[in-house]
């Protein structure tokens, strides 16, 4: 991306090129996350026996693709060429974790991964970004956060009933998915990436530059974990278990 002059920057609610670069990299994460979500819902649809559930999963997949498109549009309006990369290391691991559940025909495990973990992470981080992002970009994040929140509400009721059937094995299943998916998400927002560049940011890793737009990895991680814990509380998992789970996540 070429350097943009001050007037152009101001028109996009930015005062430095670094800020613009940060929004581009944040958008790339969001777009890739939405595309992974779309693929996951399409996979989920294949696992559904019930026609209504199948249609609902496909509907969610469409909605995730539309979110990706809206993020792309918001970026374009700021003069940003927003990339996406389904092979970016963290997102690839998340998709693989989901697929391994799907291959085992584990419908509930897939719902936990997508609608509890990924959606909690999305809602919380989008809300934080929405509060800091300029103009149209901010409102796009806010609207999509609201829509993603509805996906969580949809899952909670179903998972409450599932848990009531067999508390012990349900909780063990959540822990199993947590160890794969939440560990990856926690690494994504950890201070450092021990495995190197994640494959999405255009230049260097965006994390050290987040403060220039008023964000930090600490806040993103904290808000995401809070939303996740609240969702697990709603489902009915014991607080002392879920506290220990998040305590064990990478920092």
């Amino acid at each position: 991306m070429k350097n943009t002059n001050l007037r152009q920057l101001a028109a996009h609610g930015c005062s430095t090129n670094e800020q613009l670069h940060v929004w581009r990299d944040i958008l790339a994460q969001a777009v890739t996350g939405e595309l992974v979500g779309a693929l996951n819902y399409e996979t989920l649809a294949e696992l559904c026996d019930d026609a209504t559930e199948k249609a609902e999963a496909l509907d969610h997949a469409t909605s995730e693709r539309s979110h990706a498109a809206r993020f792309n549009t918001a970026g374009r309006e700021m003069g940003l060429n927003v990339g996406s990369n389904l092979d970016a290391s963290y997102w690839k691991r998340i998709r693989e974790a989901f697929l391994s559940r799907a291959r085992a025909n584990d419908f509930v495990g897939c719902v936990i991964a997508q609608e509890v973990m990924l959606e909690s992470f999305a809602v919380a981080s989008y809300q934080l970004v929405a509060a800091k992002a300029p103009g149209k970009l901010g409102s796009t994040f806010a609207e999509i956060a609201r829509e993603e929140g509805e996906h969580i509400g949809h899952a909670v009721e179903m998972l409450q009933a599932e848990r009531a059937g067999d508390l012990k094995s349900f909780d063990a299943k959540v822990l199993g998915v947590h160890e794969e998916v939440m560990t990856t998400l926690a690494e994504m927002v950890a201070r450092e990436d021990p495995a190197g560049h994640c494959g999405l940011c255009e230049g260097n890793c965006v994390k050290p530059s987040l403060p220039c737009v008023g964000l930090s990895t600490g806040e993103l991680r904290g808000a995401s974990l809070r939303r996740y814990l609240q969702t697990l509380d709603e489902i009915g998992l014991p607080g002392e278990s879920t506290l220990a789970w998040i305590a064990r996540l990478p920092i």
């Binding site: 930090s216 600490g218 806040e219 991680r221 904290g222 808000a223 974990l225 809070r226 814990l229 609240q230 509380d233 014991p238 607080g239 002392e240 879920t242 506290l243 220990a244 998040i246 305590a247 064990r248 920092i251």
Partner: protein, 364 residues
Amino acid sequence: MPSVDFALIGHLESWSTAAAVISALRGADRPAIRSEELREILPWIPPRTVCRVTITSSNGSEAHGVYIDSFIPPDRLAERFLRENLARVRQAAEYAVREGAKIAALGGFSSILLEGNIGALPRNSRTAFTTGNTLTVALIMRGLECALEFAGRDLGRANVLIIGASGDVGSGCARCLAPRVSQLLLCARNPNRLQALATELSESRTPVHSGTDLAQFSSQADLVICAASMPAPALSPEALSPEAIICDVGYPKNLLPGFAPAEGAVFFGGLGQVRGRLRLHPDLLGILNPQPFPDIVHGCLLEGMLLALDRRFEPFSQGRGRITPQRVQEIWDLAQKHGITLGPLCDADGPVEARISDLAGEVR
């Protein structure tokens, strides 16, 4: 899982304690979390159960409960965070209801919900809420008696200063002490509440003086109770009588570590000891009880467990300024029945009984 008789709602006293708790939950196979790392995480954790608790009375009866932490950041207890902290305590109270607790004790700062914001309690719940302040006062009284006995002094000749006198614990101590001491000096920030307490106590034969300026009383007192909701930086060791004995009942502590009059002593008040058995799962007792004695618990939380042991699921301590000597005696009798006693006198560095006993020789 056994039914939940009681919930203990609290908050962690320091970042180092919080880091120790989270590190213990992380497990020995993970690197311990550092305080500075935890500062980014803890404020986001919603109130929740941290561990399961079982208390066994000295008569063999048992009660089961949970410890719920409100996760108020240890450095955000100041008044400017009041609204945010109240919301956290309210969420913790809702969590206690969700756990099905028959009684919940609100420890430390959390008691504010019952002292002045009772309308914020969860409505239509079957959980009884208590501040636990009556047992705290009972333990403070026993601690003072014990300290004076070690020091060879007579309570009847003591000039007692209470800092934070208009609070629930401070005013409870004042009511218990008024008929028994030589002079009562009351200090607090709220002049109206202070005046009301002084008027109430004026019927006792003991001279009662009150004021908002700590400096006017410091040098007159030989026994000091620090019961302020905030640290008391205005209190300096130099301003106190050199042989003053100070009982710090604050949570977090009112006095900085190392604070002591030249020839006096400081001890932590309001701590009780379970003579039966206390078990935590996971076992965080060694972290939550930093004292070098087993099964030491703050009186406010002990009151909840005590009432559960006695199957008295009632709001024993609620509101502000309702603690009377009769109620203190009632809860103390109950404590005796179940083997809850005064913990050994100690400060941040350990036992202080020998230090206080030495005062007897120094003063004479």
